[in-house]
Symmetry: none
Subunit: 160 residues, 2 copies
DNA sequence: GCTTTTTGACTTTCTTTGACCTTTATTATA
DNA sequence: TATAATAAAGGTCAAAGAAAGTCAAAAAGC
């Protein structure tokens, strides 16, 4: 009666036991239950999300894995820390850093993170042009030119 | 479970212990773990970079070696020194000298160093207002600060 | 019919490897 | 002795491989 996702959920719950966190391999687990690897993601996002008291982290590539953690006091401390920082002014870089942290902890998806970053970018938030724009194009022009020359060997301009 | 890179990382960490720095031979280490020598570079650049609190130096040729150092207070003193110099005007030669120093300490990759040198070159900065030297120190300062901030997340300056 | 589950094609990220390059030290030679 | 050749490191970069992520369509439950 219960779906495979439910079985995977209880399997993970059992493996977690009383522990604070658990490391799993997405592929192994999917293999064990004979399901598509992405179904593990489905289980994680529907059963082991923040609302249900969990946070997950992962790493791709060789030796990649997924970590499932209980979202306990320390998590809310972490979140409070971030909210505290947002009581002061936050420049673009810091904002991105915070967004990355939140994405990392699967608080937001990375696609959502991108939107957020765009929303808080200098471009989005401000300022009609100033004189520095001319300089900027000059610098960029210079860098691109030199890069191009270096790659194609035709050096007609001085090295700097 | 964990990748070989992770094992190499902990091996280095263990060897370093509480010490301030550690000398290793790239080839020996690669041999010990049965990996391509370049994988040692991979571990160094992903795990023992400035972001993570380390600086590395190396020497080639006979008796060559790699030194892994904790980026501690003295590092920030060194960095502060450079930033101090950038409070005055900086001509192109001096700028390149500083960039070389930063590349030497693996603060930037040499490919990044090239870009920076181009960005502060007379050609890039030529402008009608004869502000070249002031601009140069400003740009250099900006790049280093941003790099440093990006790595440590302490942002006291505005994003642009 | 609507919601939840399952699947699979495509994407992104991280690791591993290898071929080729640069620098430094040592040794041989004029 | 100065210089040229050789050997002994480490550096770089790109390709191949190994995971996990995304998204939308199909299938299954209710």
């Amino acid at each position: 009666m219960s779906s495979i996702s439910d079985m995977i959920e209880s399997f993970i719950m059992d493996s977690l036991g009383e522990g604070e966190y658990l490391d799993i391999s997405r592929n192994e687990l999917a293999n064990y239950f004979n399901v598509a690897p992405s179904q593990i993601n489905y289980v994680l996002s529907t059963r082991f999300n923040y609302e249900r008291g969990f946070l997950t982290e992962s790493k791709r590539g060789g030796g990649g894995h997924i970590t499932i953690m209980r979202a306990d006091d320390s998590t809310s401390v972490w979140l409070d820390g971030i909210l505290d920082r947002l009581n002061q002014e936050v420049d673009y870089r810091t904002g991105c850093y915070i967004v990355d942290e939140l994405v990392n902890k699967k608080f937001f998806k990375s696609s959502q993170g991108e939107i957020i970053k765009t929303a808080i970018s200098p471009n989005a938030l401000a300022n009609p042009f100033k004189l520095e724009n001319r300089l900027r194009s000059q610098i960029l022009r210079r860098i691109i030119l030199k890069h191009n020359i270096k790659q194609h060997g035709e050096s007609k301009t001085s090295s700097i």
